[in-house]
């Protein structure tokens, strides 16, 4: 990587003073400099190889709960003073501001940690050889595998945060993600299957991964779905597998606990602290401290140390995810949950690694008990409207349950429901907790987030398959 700029706190002092010069009661400077690489193979040929340097800064000012944000590319001191001026004037133009506050002395809350096997040191050729293994393994699984795409995307970025309360945080965030997609062909159709493991770690994560097993899993999904009939449609009990199955909690509950909507009373869980919002078998956390996890960091994007937040305790709502602005609005402490895609967004409260905790129910019994139902084994993403709690998520690979047995695979359905409703309808939670990686989109852009859960069962969801309606 190119030599990273160093950033002296005296520069930050000048910028923050400018930001406060019109009377704001808080100012923050967020700096970011990093390199993102991507290598994609289409079959055995390199389809894309890119390197991008993302570098910029944002200045935020508050006056009580009004805020202004200005951002620019690069770290040029003139540009930083400019954006500080813009943010200050924008707010001053509209809000009557208090007398100037003084900057507090710096307290360094976080230092960068160097990786052992930085991505910068991994050559294009090494990545290519790595991905070729995945392509070979996927094709070797079945002659029905028609095409394979494999890619490695990594980012090594330095984040520095200064604010008027004296916080000075520096964090180095290193992420990598592998993506393998297979296309199976047969019966006049094409179907896909994919895997996408990632981590907040350097390339040693991928060296330790069972790459061939991942590739075979992507191929297995595609070939299974190729021969699967359409998923039926209607109301059904659904058993959701562990790992990426946790997307149901992410959509049904997680977003609705973010101060982003809670603080404005625009969430169905606003004002529900201490109340029962889920079945008693459900406990859930959001934990940004998990070492090396996809959604983790030492500090959040406002310089607040990340923490383990217990969101639901045996069905009782015990916490929200709160950023600095949310903290002001709600009169509660921030929870280390402020995140943003990059410097072009002001931070807001987001999830990090969010999962339902291990329960005590038997993972096989919850299927055996069902006369009829759906086992959702491989899920896609989803989305939610926190105001109403209406959410959806996609099932890529499912199995029809009849008389307690998995009868045959089914393909392609979106499951919908209302968060508050569905959380109360979870009636079995097994012990086999597992997490998986995803990208989460919201007001402050796309961020990396883990989802997770043990295998669990929901008494009823609306299943939108293309197949026959259930009687």
């Amino acid at each position: 990587m190119a030599e990273l700029f160093s950033f002296h706190p005296e520069r930050a002092e000048a910028v923050l003073k400018r930001a406060l010069s019109r009377g704001a009661d808080f100012a923050e400077l967020f700096l970011e400099d990093g390199t993102a690489r991507n290598l994609t193979l289409n079959e055995k040929i390199i389809d894309a190889a890119t390197t991008h340097r993302r570098c910029g800064a944002g200045v935020r000012v508050f006056s009580q709960t009004a805020s202004a944000y200005a951002y620019c590319s690069g770290w040029d001191q003139e540009d930083l003073l400019d954006i500080a001026q813009q943010a200050a004037e924008a707010l001053a133009a509209q809000v009557s501001l208090k007398a100037q506050i003084q900057l507090r002395p710096w307290i360094k809350v976080c230092e960068m940690k160097a990786p052992i096997r930085p991505y910068e040191a991994v050559t294009v050729s090494e990545r290519e050889q790595y991905l070729l293994r995945a392509v070979h393994a996927a094709h070797a699984y079945s002659p029905e595998i028609h095409r394979v795409t494999a890619s490695l995307a990594d980012e090594d970025r330095r984040v520095i945060i200064f604010n008027s309360e004296g916080v000075w945080a520096e964090d180095r965030r290193i992420h990598g993600r592998l993506f393998i997609q297979t296309i199976a062909q047969g019966e006049g159709r094409l179907e896909t299957g994919s895997v996408a493991p990632g981590a907040g770690q350097d390339f040693s994560f991928f060296e330790a991964l069972d790459l061939e097993a991942q590739a075979r899993e992507a191929a297995r999904i595609a070939t299974t779905v190729l021969h699967a009939p359409e998923c039926p449609s209607g109301q059904l009990p659904v058993v959701i597998e562990n790992g990426f199955g946790g997307v149901i909690f992410h959509e049904a509950c997680g977003h609705s606990l973010e101060a982003t909507s809670v603080a404005l009373n625009n969430s169905e869980f606003s004002g529900k602290l201490g109340q029962q919002i889920a079945a008693t078998c459900v406990s859930a956390v959001d934990d940004g401290t998990l070492l090396g996890a996809w959604g983790s960091a030492q500090v959040d994007d406002e310089g607040q140390p990340t923490q383990r937040n217990l969101l639901i305790d045996h069905g009782i709502c015990t916490g929200y995810l709160i950023d600095r602005l949310g903290s002001r609005r709600m009169g509660m402490e921030p929870t280390g949950s402020a995140r943003r895609q990059d410097y072009s967004y002001p931070a807001t409260s987001r999830m990090t690694n969010t999962f339902i905790l291990a329960g005590q129910d038997d993972a096989d019994e919850m299927i055996k008990e069902l006369p009829q139902g759906l086992y959702a084994k491989t899920l896609g993403g989803g989305s939610v409207n926190p105001l109403t709690g209406e959410f959806n998520f996609a099932v890529q690979e499912g199995y029809w349950i009849e008389n307690g047995e998995l009868k045959h695979p089914v393909r392609g359905a979106t499951l919908i429901g209302k968060g508050a409703d569905v959380l109360m309808k979870i009636d079995r939670v097994a012990a086999n907790l597992k997490r998986a990686q995803g990208m989460c989109g919201s007001a402050s852009g796309m961020v990396r987030a883990d989802v997770g859960q043990p295998r669990l069962r929901v008494q009823q969801l609306t299943v939108g398959g293309r197949g026959e309606a259930l009687s």
Binding site: A68, A70, C72, I183, L264, G382, A394, T414, R466
Partner: protein
């Protein structure tokens, strides 16, 4: 050094480092935006950014590197050469030379030049207007006005010099309606030359939020379906890979072997149009001059959309559909892609429908679709149609179908094209036959 000088220095450096060819795309952008809600400033935003991407041909291999700061040119060139190292050499790799472009009149941006203060006042005005429209409007969920300016320039060692400037505005209204314990929100956007059509934005938003209050689900089953222009446009955009020549090459388009064949109903015409007045584009991402392309004519697939490389391999002319990704890679994308309108007004379309579901919005498309098979399953809401007239609001249902099969079942298009919120894909409303819908059997509790 300013960015233009940096652009030139990159080209010089690339030559010096032994690149056969080099091309630099520079994007500079600035923005101003306000968001208000509940009578207060929620956010004020201003920005000034730049992004510079380098594409080289090194020993006939393409390489890329990009940056948001004036990185040492030698380093950027070295990164691009490194990225070229694994590529298959292509002796025909050729960056465009000087071109002639038409002067296309740029659409007027009614929000351009407005001060932050003026934007804020306007936003407060919209909020007040929405609240005044109906007592069931509880509050706004946010009113935003944004103005964006962008300049794009492409320079290369073959003498290409292409420049384009864009100024766009948008207004977004969100309102929350409340009745009893039920709350529903709605978002509407006006943009481009219509960015100051505040009355339409507010009224449409408020009226829809109110209609949503009375929503209920319906029983699972097969229903005759009409999709609004907005929904059709979302689907068209989501399944773009079917007509993307690069996806065809990769074996990911179900239309790979369908050139010249019937892929849709006879009333279906699909065009890609860089001359569309709201978003005129004089050149594509490779600097090739604009051209309008008929993709589907009377249901027959006439061509895929190409950039110069896929066109060369297919033995055809480029359709000038190159686009640049955020990292400067040349890929294929639409300019302004839309289904041609039909003859019927929306009312006439619904009359022809008689009874069924007229879907206005969908969600979950990003995850609930398979671009390779065409299958999709999404949450939907819209009107129940009885005797050709809009009745109740239906929600908490899914619709599931195969997009490519659906295109063969279009009965009719309406006569008005909708381009959802600043996007470059549009469509009129469309009427279909029967589609599978999953919902909840109606119970007294459902029909609150």
């Amino acid at each position: 050094m300013n960015w233009q000088a940096y652009q030139e220095s990159l080209l010089t450096c690339a030559r010096e480092q032994g690149c056969d060819q080099a091309e630099v795309v520079l994007t500079e952008a600035s923005s101003l935006g306000v968001t208000v809600s509940e009578g207060q400033i929620e956010n004020l935003e201003a920005s000034k950014t730049a992004r510079c991407s380098l594409r080289i041909a090194y020993q006939n291999r393409p390489g890329y590197a990009s940056t948001e700061v004036k990185e040492d040119p030698a380093l950027l060139v070295a990164q691009a050469i490194d990225n070229a190292s694994g590529q298959v050499p292509d002796p025909a790799l050729d960056f465009a030379g000087p071109q002639t472009y038409e002067t296309l009149p740029q659409p007027h941006n009614p929000l351009e030049g407005l001060s932050l203060k003026a934007l804020i006042e306007q936003a407060y005005g919209l909020e007040k207007a929405g609240l005044a429209r109906d007592p069931r409007i509880e509050k706004s969920a946010g009113i935003s006005l944004q103005v964006n300016q962008r300049t794009l320039s492409i320079l290369n060692t073959s003498g290409l010099s292409a420049h384009h400037q864009v100024s766009r505005g948008s207004t977004v209204c969100g309102f929350i309606a409340k009745e009893g314990e039920t709350r529903r929100d709605q978002w509407e956007q006006v943009s481009g030359t219509q960015a100051d059509d505040f009355e339409t934005c507010v009224n449409r938003c408020v009226d829809r939020a109110l209609i949503r209050l009375s929503g209920h689900s319906i029983a699972t089953g097969q229903y005759t379906l009409a999709l609004s222009g907005k929904v059709m446009a979302s689907l068209l955009g989501a399944f773009f890979s079917a007509i993307n020549a690069r996806e065809v090459e990769k074996g990911r388009s179900p239309w790979a072997n369908e050139l010249g064949k019937q892929v849709a109903a006879p009333c279906v015409h699909l065009v890609d149009d860089p001359y569309y007045a709201e978003n005129p584009l004089p050149f594509d991402g490779e600097g090739r001059p604009a051209q309008k392309t008929t993709v589907v004519e009377a249901g027959t697939l006439k061509t895929f959309l190409h950039h110069s490389e896929t066109a060369r391999r297919a033995g055809v002319q480029t359709t000038a559909n190159a686009v640049r990704t955020a990292t400067g890679r040349v890929e294929i994308g639409p300019t302004n892609l839309y289904f041609l309108p039909g003859e019927l007004t929306e009312d006439q379309l619904l009359e022809q429908m008689g009874q069924g579901l007229y879907i206005q919005y969908i969600a979950g498309l990003h995850s609930g679709l398979n671009p390779v098979s065409g299958d999709f399953s999404v949450v939907a809401d819209g009107f129940w149609i009885e005797n050709g007239k809009k009745q109740d609001w239906i929600h908490q249902i899914t619709i599931a179908a195969n997009y490519f099969k659906l295109l063969n079942e279009v009965q009719a298009f309406s006569n008005e094209i909708h381009f959802p919120g600043g996007h470059t894909v549009g469509s009129p409303a469309a009427l279909f036959k029967q589609v599978q819908v999953a919902g909840q059997k109606e119970t007294p509790e459902d029909s609150v």
